[in-house]
């Protein structure tokens, strides 16, 4: 079974490809949805096409599947009507699958289930990465505010942090917001670092 993954994000496609290879599928190709990707796809004659549901190129792909004369068998979106949960899970995870006419449901379903799991795992990774990035930038803001206080009010690092924290608590705000306000004010007053 030849599986083509249409994906722009190199990382997500790799995560999916790995999973499929581990499960014993070995005829897998990754095509980014750019330029003449439709022509490439036609030459590959895939049995299953997996694509991010959120990809803006889905309309282009569907049009090609509709009018292509190069593909021997028509390809349509895979939907298992006996399984509403599966449809919901695929849409939630952002997976769309197109399958050639005549391919049996039992053969496609494991591929789709695997894609859903891998897409979800990737989304979780992405969220964790974003959270880590946010934490890092918050850390930097607080550090800068601390050094402003240390310089201008001759406080120790510990006292500077305690002052930020107590003002945040008194104002019912997050420390990072108070720190940001302090930096802005300090910049405006020309006393920044």
């Amino acid at each position: 079974m030849r599986i083509v993954i249409i994906d722009d994000s190199g990382l997500r496609a790799t995560v999916l490809e790995e999973g499929l290879r581990d499960a014993g599928y070995d005829d897998i190709h990754i095509v980014p949805p750019r330029g003449a990707f439709v022509a490439r796809l036609e030459r590959m004659a895939p049995d299953v096409v997996l694509m991010d549901l959120g990809s803006p190129s889905r309309d282009t792909l569907e049009e090609m599947l509709m009018v292509s004369r190069a593909l021997a068998r028509p390809i349509a979106m895979f939907v298992d009507h006996s399984d509403d949960a599966m449809i919901g899970a695929a849409i939630d995870a952002g997976v769309s699958a197109y399958v050639v006419d005549g391919l049996r449901k039992e053969r496609v379903k494991p591929v789709l289930e695997l894609a859903v799991r891998r897409f979800n795992a990737f989304a979780k990774m992405q969220t964790e990465l974003d959270e880590a990035r946010t934490a890092l930038s918050e850390r930097k803001i607080i550090d800068r505010a601390k050094s402003i206080l240390m310089n201008q009010r001759s406080l120790s690092e510990q006292d500077a942090y305690a002052l930020l924290r107590s003002s945040a608590m008194n104002q019912g705000k997050k420390i990072v917001d108070v720190a940001q306000a302090l930096i802005t004010a300090s910049d405006l007053l020309g006393g920044g670092l």
Partner: protein, 402 residues
């Protein structure tokens, strides 16, 4: 009650955005969760598989899904039109150089421009590639109609390439397409960058062209009359706010938000004020009917317009013509729901559910159950008239350009 509604980043998502942001939905006890999609396929799937309650949909796509022409078949119902007109065809400046250099004349004479376009195809080094947003879009149907009037076969003489509106400008820049027809602000964005010139605008091809609708799954629509009615009441008030020129600046500003269209407000404002810049740096050309939200009973879903869409599907061999398909297509538009929902609202209500399309050359006061209703001119540029009662005559009337 929280309603999930899918939309695409386009100027004519305005009525939905304003219903949410200006509190019109809230006044009806509804909270709108607007879900931005990047392709019509995804918007369609979200609606068909019940991930959203309703969607801003291309009117022809709603008909196509109901007829089983676009992936999973599902009965869809459109009780409300989100807008009329608003599309623009732009072509690369090199290509447009073969058209009338007087840009005002170019827009006001679509028939002449179509013939110039045919000549320009001959001069182009290969078949021009024209981007359309979807096979089942008003854009594609209008472009086909317009090209065919000059003897151009849209399936043979040009390459129509489907791509979503938000990728059109990038594809122009990369030279993957020679032009495109899309809803605003994408045409204006290409003009502004100096990549393209306006060649035709929807309003001059069909003066009151059917465009986006609010689509539901029919069973859900039937089971939730109270919610549907409340939503329609919220939208009709939102539409009237959107049409008011005094609000256009605020509306453009609102839509420029990254959650909606995410394009500069001054580009978005062009469609609303009808100030269309044809060529980079030129003064705009006034086109006051470029995009309508409310006036002339714009939101009313005339059945005849669903049937016109069907006639074009038949014309371009997109569907096999038959009495059953015809009945199904017409039934997608639901004037009955519109009447029920807005029975007590201060809205002029047309007396009929169908009309002859393309028959009005001048504004006309028509029978209305409440208040005065004046319908605007609705001619097709070639003067053809669509009488939904005489479908066969209309269809045989199109001579296939062979």
């Amino acid at each position: 009650m929280s309603l999930r509604i899918a939309f695409l980043p386009l100027t004519d998502a305005a009525v939905l955005a304003v219903a949410r942001e200006r509190g019109f939905a809230e006044e009806e006890g509804l909270s709108l969760d607007l879900i931005r999609s990047t392709s019509w396929a995804t918007l369609r799937d979200r609606l068909v598989y019940g991930q959203v309650h309703a969607a801003q949909m291309l009117a022809p796509l709603a008909v196509a899904v109901t007829l089983g022409l676009s992936q999973q078949p599902a009965a869809l119902a459109a009780p409300y039109k989100l807008g009329v007109n608003g599309n623009m065809l732009v072509m690369a400046s090199d290509f447009a150089a073969a058209l009338d250099p007087d840009t005002g004349r170019r827009l006001s004479d679509p028939l002449g421009t179509a013939h110039d376009f045919a000549a320009a195809i001959g001069l182009w080094r290969r078949k021009p590639v024209i981007g359309v947003v979807h096979r089942f879009s008003s854009h594609s149907l209008m472009l086909r109609y317009w090209l065919a009037s000059a003897g151009i076969d849209p399936d043979r003489d040009v390459v129509l390439r489907v791509l979503p509106p938000s990728l059109t400008v990038e594809a122009m820049r990369a030279g993957e397409i020679d032009g495109f027809i899309a809803g605003e602000p994408w045409g204006s964005a290409a003009v502004e960058e100096g990549l393209a010139e306006t060649v035709a605008i929807g309003e001059r091809i069909w003066q009151r062209g059917v465009e986006k609708v609010l689509a539901f799954r029919t069973p859900w629509l039937e089971e939730n009359p109270d919610i549907v009615d409340r939503l329609l009441r919220a939208l009709i008030r939102s539409a009237s706010w959107c049409d008011d020129p005094a609000n256009h600046d605020a509306l453009a500003q609102l839509l420029s938000d990254p959650r909606y269209v995410d394009q500069p407000a001054d580009l978005i404002a062009r469609a609303m004020s009808g100030q269309i810049v044809v060529r980079q740096g030129e003064a705009p050309i006034a086109s006051p009917d470029f995009l309508l939200f409310s006036r002339e009973a714009t939101p009313f879903p005339w059945r005849s317009q669903a049937l016109w869409i069907y006639s074009q599907f038949v014309r371009w061999n997109m569907v096999e013509h038959g009495p059953e398909a015809l009945a199904k297509a017409g039934a997608v538009f639901r004037p009955d729901i519109f009447r029920r929902a807005l029975a007590d609202a201060d809205v002029p209500m047309p007396g009929a559910n169908m009309k002859v399309e393309g028959a009005l050359g001048l504004p006309l006061a028509v029978g209305s159950r409440k208040g005065g209703l004046t319908l605007g001119p609705d001619r097709f540029f070639d003067g053809r008239v669509f009488d939904p009662e005489r479908m066969e005559d209309y269809l045989t009337n199109f001579v296939s350009p062979l």
